[in-house]
């Protein structure tokens, strides 16, 4: 931020737009990283291309090529809004072209994490589901399975029900966001499929989750 204040308007814009992405990255796993890498790659590409321009004293030239001609004064806020726009079709193509297996291996859909013995969505969980809902709205043919997973600290038997409840809470929230219930299946795997085989809090945190799998597209 301090750096951007000494740069041009375009740099200010690009820096700001990257900040929320970083926040999201911190809160999620590598699942969304492909999209992010694409976005940051584009941003970086733009920045590189525009780098000489930023030294020029004429701010309007700093606008990226894909932006619909803004008002000549070029207020910085407009430029930031516009930045993600060119990235979207590119990202979508990248996603659409990938096979189901490739998609799920490095999923654009974010997992939801839970506290011990809990099945309710917290603010972070709701944000993740909201982001997933946005992707599902964009890819209208996708059908997803929400898998409920638990850590090894619950019993095998009860965890089957707890995982079911975790998956069901995600489905309910997705439906409340307007996603058709017929596009969402749920299944509980209890503690049978831990994501991290470890036996510490780090592993348990990863294993208490609702995991999204795209089952058809």
């Amino acid at each position: 931020m301090a750096r951007s204040s000494s740069g041009s308007r375009y740099e200010i814009g690009s820096t700001r737009s990257v900040v929320p992405m970083n926040k999201r990255m911190r809160g999620s796993t590598t699942a969304a990283s492909v999209v992010l890498i694409l976005l940051t790659g584009i941003a970086a590409g733009c920045a590189r291309r525009e780098a000489p321009v930023t030294t020029s004293p004429t701010p309007p030239l700093a606008a990226p090529p894909g932006v619909s001609a803004p008002a000549p004064p070029g207020p910085p806020s407009r430029v930031e809004e516009a930045l993600p726009v060119p990235s979207e079709p590119i990202a979508e193509d990248a996603i659409s072209n990938r096979s189901l297996d490739a998609l799920n291996r490095d999923s654009p859909l974010k997992p939801v994490f839970y506290p011990l013995d809990g099945a309710d969505l917290d603010a972070e969980g709701r944000a993740a589901v909201t982001a997933n809902a946005a992707l599902l709205r964009r890819h209208t043919t996708w059908v997803v399975t929400v898998e409920g997973h638990c850590d090894e600290r619950g019993t095998s038997e009860y965890n089957l029900a707890l995982g079911e409840r975790r998956a069901a809470s995600v489905k309910a929230y997705l439906v409340s966001l307007g996603i058709g219930p017929d596009r969402i299946r749920t299944v509980s795997y209890g503690k049978e499929f831990p994501f991290d085989q470890g036996h510490d809090e780090g592993a348990w945190t990863k294993n208490r989750r609702a995991h999204f799998v795209i089952t058809s597209k």
């Binding site: 013995d117 019993t155 089957l160 707890l162 079911e164 299944v187």
Partner: protein
Amino acid sequence: MGMTNSQLPMSQPPRWRALGRLRLGDWLGVGRWELGVAVAALAVATLVAGAAAPQQVPEQPSEVAVVISGDPGTPPRYAVPDFVAVNPEAAEAARTMSRVLFDDLAFEREFYLIPRDTYATIPAARTADQIPFNAWRELGADAVVFGVVERTGNNVRVEVRLFNVRTQQSVFSKEYTGSQENPRLYAHTMSDEIHQQQRALRGVARTKLAFSSDRNRERMVGTIENRDVKEVYIADYDGANPRRITANRQLNLTPVWSPDARAIAYTSYRRGYPDLFVALIYEGVQQEPTGGGTQNWLPMFSPDGTRIVFTSSRDGNPELYIMNRDGSGVRRLTNHPAIDSTPTWSPTGTQVAFTSDRAGQPQIYIVGADGLNLRRLTTSESYADRPTWSPAPFNEIAFAARTGPGYDIKVYDLATGVTRRVTFGEGSNESPSYSPSGRHLAFTSTRVGGVQIFTIGRDGRGVKQITRDGNNRTPSWSN
């Protein structure tokens, strides 16, 4: 917890370490009675054993001659030397049978088994009239088993006799013939028959365990992640002769035996979601009583085998349902927005114990099979699951209770309302299942790394590791 001091097995010296230190509590497998009340305890033991096998008529003159007793207040001391091989081809079977019989007789803890390595000084007998009874007597034996094995092609003929060392008379004499394929089965049969004759006890040597295992280390087909397949297996009660029951390369969990031990109901994800299947294991038939389309798990056969109670989310959240074995007549047993799961039948089939988190954390509840008279059982546990109702004559429910980072097996006595512990924090211990006699429990433990199946006496003594290969969960003990 209502534990008595004698129920702390970890603080006890190893079982049978020295003859002079035997306690009656050890012998009876009850752990409450001290030598001082030996006579009273003997009377109780006779009553308990009598209730377990009502066909046994106690205290008849002929029986006094047949039953081999030990010194007052101590269990009879048994010696099981290697069986005699009539021909060289029978040597392996003879060796196996005598060793398995030794373990089987030790398992019930009704007899003290004189360690095999002390037999070396005693001359081996080729025939019954060569048995050196005086030498066995010097070793402290009350009873000695004498077996002869002959192999003819693929068949074996086994002759076994149990001698009273004092009277030098045979009190048990049997001959078995059949395939030589599974010599262990002959030993198991002898053990069960000796326990029946000598202690009026239904032994478990011929029972089996069903469980879920990843021992094949296969990965799921057509999956996105690298996930281990879990298949249903059965094995003898001592873990020998493991056999795979399912082969669908998916998740197959929570197998339970039908009362006739010919079928196994289990939870399978072969359709991508949990559903119930029944495998008729001797016919190779798979039945799907719920018919697909709904998510169902954790089945349990009723004691008469005609009904199955299970957990299902078909109405929106996990509830209990009862159906006939063929899937007809489904009716809902519970109705609560919380989780209701993990049902088990009472021995008479009139009640169901289950797990519910309606009070916040998972606790054990009981409800009538008609859905009425629901009541909470556990009140002093932070987390309790997998209730398992004991068979008669015991009237208790075993369950897994959170006791720190992991779980321990506890037993709730329905008559007194007292809870006692069976395991004591060695690893995490879950999924108890009673033997048909109610004297033992199978459970899973992480005490040796991975998840393995163990058996233990209902008094917490006599822990025995059953599985060693891969991870093995949710045992069910057959009748």
